[in-house]
Structure formats: C-alpha cells, structure tokens
Amino acid sequence: MSNPQVDTPLRVHWFIPPAAVALSPEKLRLIATRLVSGGVFELLLDGYPLAHDALGDVLSILRPAGIRITLVSGASSSETAGASRLDAPIPLLLDLNRLVTAQAPNLSLSAKALEAHRSLGLDPGLVLCLLRPWLPLLRPLLSWALEQQVPLFKLPNIPLDARFRHDFEQQICRASDLGQLRSELDSEFVRSIADLKMQIHDLFLWELLSGQPDNRMEYSGCQAANTLAYIDAQGNVHPCASWPLSFGSLLQQSLPELWSSALREQCRQYIAQPPKGCHGCADWGICFGGCRGLSQLHTSQSGRDLWCDAPR
C-alpha cells in the first residue's frame, strides 16, 4: 500500500523545554500516558528532557509500552547529570545546534561531550537542524562525525519552535543554498562518508548526501498529520515540527480524538493535492511536493519545497 493511512501517528517528536518553563510533571505524565494509549511506535524527546526531574517518571510510562525512545541533549551540566541518572541506556543524540555555534565552530567541545556521554556507557549520535548559518559547517561536521564513529548523524526537518523563531527568515535554507552545497559536497566527498549512518528528512538533501539518488527507499509523500506528529512545549499537537498548525492539546484530548478531527483531515487533503508550484513537474511522483509544512512560509514557491528551485 503506497500511501498508508493510520489511526494515530507512529512517529512523534516531542519538544520539552528547559525545566523552568516546562509543563508540570503531572502534565508531562498525562502526555506520556496518552502517547502510550495512542499506540505510538517511536518518540524523539527533543529539547531539554534530560534536564527535567520528571524524565524518570515519563520514561517509566513510555518504556514498558515498548516505544522506541531517542533523547536529545545539549550536553549542559544539568543534562549530562540527567544522562548519568538513566537506569538503562537509551539512544541519545547530541544537539549540534547547541554545541557548535555557526560563528565559532568548536569541535573540541563536541568531542568532550561525546567522551563524557561515552564514559556513562552511552553511545550518542549527533543531530543538526541544517539552518543557513550551519551550511558551511556541514562538510567538516560530517567528516568529524565519521572520524568519531558516531552511530548516527541525523538531519531532521526544521522545527518552527521558539529555538529557531528568531531571525528565522534569514536562517531557513532555500534552493540557492542547495546549489551551493552541491558544489561543496562533491561525489568524491559523499563516497568518503559512505560509512556514516545518516537519517535525512529532506528529500533534496537526501538526494545530495545519499550518493545513490536513484535508489530511494519507498516514499509516499509528506507524512505530516499521518504517521508523523509534533508536540510542542505546551502539549499542543501539530502535523509535524515544521507545520505551525495546532490540532489541539494532548492535555485535553487523546491522540485518536485529535487524529479524528476535521482539521487533521483537512490537512491531509491539502497534502494530497499537488501544489500549484509543482504542476507539470516530472518528479511529482518521486517527491510529492517534498516538505509541505515549511513550503507554506513562502508564497513565492507556490507550495513547492523550499529546497526546490523549479519543476523538473
């Protein structure tokens, strides 16, 4: 079945802000309980989960249900202390947007963070939201990640949360940036990092970095509001991290209720329609418009993925 439809999302991205502004432990537990009863398969706990005292409680609800959990950490002292309190190893990703500032790349800081977590028995991967200021760092970061033998380098979709709102217009990448990246990441370089396991959300970036653009895994288009969901710091549920539309709060409704809403259905219907900017494109059957959430930020793209320069 090429375009699976599901009752509730399978993969959820949940942003937990610093403890001072996070929901109460009771509310975090309620969300965790609703994720379990919603039958979620995979959960990315993004933001500052390790700095939160309620993490142990949240994990004790999620783990018995068999949900595959990945934690994100900025490797601050409180987060590293939180990692040391984990009673069993959990896949962890170090947040390069917090560890490596675009203005002053300091890989030694990231190396220390890797070492600190490895000494705790963890084997952290790396995650980088590829915003424009980080573009020149992508090549050295990939080479470095390979040297460090990290288990995973994740390039996720760009979350529209408070972290990146500031100056977002200037930070978000466009098709011209991809052209620049293409000239920097030549095929020889891409071959040299073939042993680095990567998870790349964006199709255009995937084409560039996979080294095998004709060997695309089965892809049935944007999965926002279908198999994907995003939970923001307040517990509101969105189609995905890149789509500023709330279906409602998980503190008020269950996942099946939110996934049965008319708004969610409208969102899927919108995704099913080819954007005006994709009309006539020979590759529609390959990318299906790419990222439909971010594309709404720019009317100039007529709904096309922001990385896409023109219909092919």
């Binding site: 599901v6 399978l10 398969f41």
Partner: protein, 103 residues
C-alpha cells in the same frame, strides 16, 4: 506450533480502519486497499489489509495454518479448505520477508 511473528517487528492494529474495512466487506465493497495492520520492519513501514492483518494477528505460534484458515472461514463465511492455499501462500510471503520465524 504454527507460524509465529518475529519479535523484532513493531506492529499494531488500526482499529478505526479495521472497523471501516469490516463495514465495507459487509456492504460488499472492495476493501483490499484499506490497511488495518501497520508494521515496521527494517526501518520501513508496511501495511496489511483486512485479511492479511487477520492472518498476521493469528501468527502467534499457537495457530496452525489449518486453524488460521478455519478462523478466517468463520469470519467470512467461506470454506476453510478453499482458503488453506491462500493462507499458506501469504504466510510463505511473510516468511520470505523475514517477518515470521521459520517453523
């Protein structure tokens, strides 16, 4: 002993879609494209339709091919003897994908 699902595979029943498919079958609609069981294997998502999902559900190691066929026959008011080859073929396909432990 019968066919048994591989324990590494994450799967769930899509209850609303299963109900939708059952109602469709009742009306005589073709519901073969409605996915009622979702599973993830090797990082890829797959869906099984109503009949495939029912077979999958019964692949718990406790039901033989004959017993699975009988259960389906009961559900769809069919002759279990006529279903055995289809069930065997479907289970072989699941085995070839590595989703079912070899008997």
């Amino acid at each position: 002993m019968g066919p048994k699902r591989h324990t590494d595979i994450f799967w769930r029943v899509e209850k609303q879609r299963e109900t939708q498919a059952l109602e469709g079958v009742e009306r005589g609609d073709d519901c073969s494209e409605i996915g009622t069981v979702t599973l993830i294997s090797g990082g890829q998502m797959h869906q099984l339709n109503l009949i495939g999902g029912m077979i999958w559900n019964l692949c718990d190691g406790q039901h033989s091919i004959e017993e699975i066929s009988s259960e389906l026959a009961l559900e769809f008011e069919a002759d279990s003897e006529e279903l055995i080859d289809d069930v065997r073929g479907f289970v072989s396909d699941l085995q070839a994908r590595g989703w079912i432990d070899d008997e």
